[in-house]
């Protein structure tokens, strides 16, 4: 099997190289990334990502908005996993401020963020299959489940993507019982749906051909480039902040972190995301069982919210990897300095290495598999 899927791409005939400008208007660059590809025939020899088309000065805005206002903005950095960005910022601010977060709020945070992880991976799954050319059928199925979660988000946070739900010191709103039971129902039926996706995709010979042995990310190389998230776990690096640097109530929850025993390829990155969705589902189930009663916010959520002077860093494990936030506060109602460590930006840096000597058709298979969100790259 292995010998068959390996592609011998050593060039035999010397032909003229061609520069192709992929993006920012290209349908498969997930937004506005621009890649300058140097092609030898259909083989990519050199890649140069051009960033910044979506730069919105999110860090600068953090210094010019009050904490309260900035929380509403920060969801937009990684718009597919807004819970994690707001959580990272809230945790950083809590580290600086030293305020307590009630346990119920922590459970709610874990719950909604794991839900968010599922939605993010579902969207990735759909779009990834589009990248691989399954344009018309399969991509709609993940979106169907995602829709259910988005409706739950809408009910609890008031928005489907820009939640503004996790706040410094707690969360915004208490869920109702009906909401919890809906979520419970979802968690019960979700594994069947994932089985369905796997029935369509995982063993599909074309899919296997497209993904197995393609874009192999060596463990050391990935560590050198600072890759995080499922991409590096698929290459066998045990880096999941929920386990390695536990935060919130994760130590109390039972879940597996899938870990590969070899250098991961595109297929591994796919299958690890699928497994992560299942694990997230389990986490939500446990949270629903363990959810305690009590306060939901340890700090008053008001316009004049202040964070004590000091500086601190906190990171969460977002669907794309380690999402860190570094805050310096001078005690006023806004940050003195905010710096983000965005997983997409770091993960994207590996792209030229992964694409080298792959045919142009693999560009999207590989680029899709590292799951980059462009606003997260450009901030």
């Amino acid at each position: 099997m292995a010998t068959d899927t390996e592609v011998d791409l050593t060039p035999r005939l010397k032909t003229d190289e061609m520069l192709i400008n992929m993006g920012p208007q290209h349908p498969a660059t997930h937004g506005v990334l621009r890649l300058i590809l140097t092609l030898d025939g259909e083989i990519v020899r050199h890649t140069e990502p051009i960033l910044g088309h979506l730069h919105r000065a999110q860090e600068w805005q953090g210094q010019n908005r009050t904490w309260f206002q900035y929380q509403a903005l920060i969801d937009r950095v990684d718009y597919l996993s807004g819970m994690f960005t707001s959580w990272a910022m809230a945790r950083a601010a809590e580290v600086v401020d030293g305020c307590e977060v009630p346990e119920r709020a922590e459970y709610l945070r874990v719950m909604v963020s794991e839900m968010n992880r599922i939605t993010s991976h579902l969207l990735w799954l759909g779009t990834y299959l589009i990248d691989l050319g399954a344009m018309f059928g399969f991509p709609f199925y993940p979106f169907r489940e995602r829709e259910k979660l988005l409706e739950l988000f809408e009910e609890i946070a008031g928005q489907r993507m820009m939640f503004n739900y996790i706040r410094i010191g707690g969360v915004m709103r208490n869920p109702k019982d009906a909401w919890l039971s809906k979520l419970k129902r979802f968690t019960e039926e979700f594994p069947d749906r994932v089985d369905e996706y796997e029935a369509i995709v995982t063993q599909n010979p074309i899919f296997l051909k497209r993904t197995k042995g393609v874009g192999i990310l060596r463990k050391e190389l990935g560590m050198d480039y600072g890759i995080t998230g499922p991409s590096i776990r698929a290459s066998g690096v045990n880096l999941d902040l929920r386990r390695t640097k536990p935060y919130s109530v994760y130590p109390k929850l039972k879940f597996d972190v899938p870990l590969n025993d070899r250098d991961g390829d595109t297929f591994d990155r796919y299958i690890f995301r699928i497994r992560e969705m299942r694990e997230s589902n389990e986490i939500i189930k446990q949270c629903l069982d363990m959810l305690p009663q009590g306060e939901i916010s340890g700090k008053k959520q008001i316009a004049g919210l202040r964070v004590k002077a000091g500086e601190g860093f906190a990171a969460v494990e977002s669907p794309r990897g380690t999402l860190g936030c570094y805050i310096i506060s001078n005690g006023s109602d806004r940050a003195y300095r905010i710096k983000w460590r965005n997983p997409s930006f770091c993960n994207l840096s590996i792209l030229p290495e992964l694409l080298k000597n792959h045919p142009i058709a693999d560009v999207m298979a590989i680029f899709g598999s590292i799951d980059v969100i462009l606003p997260d790259v450009d901030r």
């Binding site: 050593t10 060039p11 005939l13 032909t15 003229d16 140097t38 030898d40 020899r45």
Partner: protein
């Protein structure tokens, strides 16, 4: 009734002649176009038109199978390969060679062309072509098949040997340029893993630093 049949017969013969002249007037300018067009890929496409009209001639001769084979193999298959080969070659190189053509070269080429034409003309002219108005057997696939496997089996086999030689030759050509060392075939602008990511690969071209 007779009148009608006559009309029909007249129309049939005339349609055939008209079609012949029509195809000829298409084919000859297209053939000139293949030679004269400045854009080499365009002349490749024009060649398809030439083959298409030759296919029309075969149809007029009631050789349907040959006509269709002509269309399938020459007009589409071979010409496409030619066009692709042309696309993959360097057009600038072609241009420089063209400009290098001296008047002596041009004269030589002209002489060769004239000589070739005269040879073909002289060899074809004295032949006695028997004219026949009798239609060919509609199932001329069978006729062709029989001819190829009985009377003409030797030329047929020779033709396939030629094709085999061409295949082997193309494989050899494709294999000819083998990278001597694994590192050497790397794209020269490629920034190796340990080096910094260069801004513009064409400006600061760095030698390969190290290999893992």
């Amino acid at each position: 009734m007779d009148q009608f049949e006559m009309l029909k017969a007249w129309a049939e013969t005339n349609v055939e002649t008209t079609m012949f002249y029509f195809l000829a007037t298409v084919a000859i300018p297209l053939a000139y176009g293949v030679i004269l067009d400045k854009t080499i890929i365009r002349s490749g496409f024009i060649l398809i038109g030439v083959f298409g009209s030759i296919c029309g001639f075969f149809l007029l001769l009631q050789a349907q199978f040959l006509a269709l084979a002509q269309l399938m193999i020459y007009a589409v298959g071979i010409t496409l390969v030619i066009v692709i080969a042309l696309m993959l070659t360097n057009p600038r190189m072609e241009k420089s060679q063209l400009s290098n053509a001296t008047p002596a070269n041009q004269l030589g080429a002209f002489m060769v062309a004239v000589g070739l034409f005269m040879t073909i003309y002289l060899s074809v002219r004295p032949e006695n072509w028997t004219l026949s108005s009798e239609p060919l057997d509609t199932n001329n696939v069978e006729v062709l098949g029989r001819a190829l496997t009985t009377d003409y089996s030797l030329p047929f086999e020779f033709a396939s040997v030629l094709l085999l030689a061409a295949l082997i030759g193309s494989v050899m050509l494709a294999k000819a340029e083998k990278p001597s060392k694994p590192g050497e075939d790397d794209y020269e602008y490629t920034v190796v893993e340990d080096g910094p990511i260069a801004g513009d690969p064409r400006q600061d071209r760095e030698p390969a630093v190290s290999k893992r």
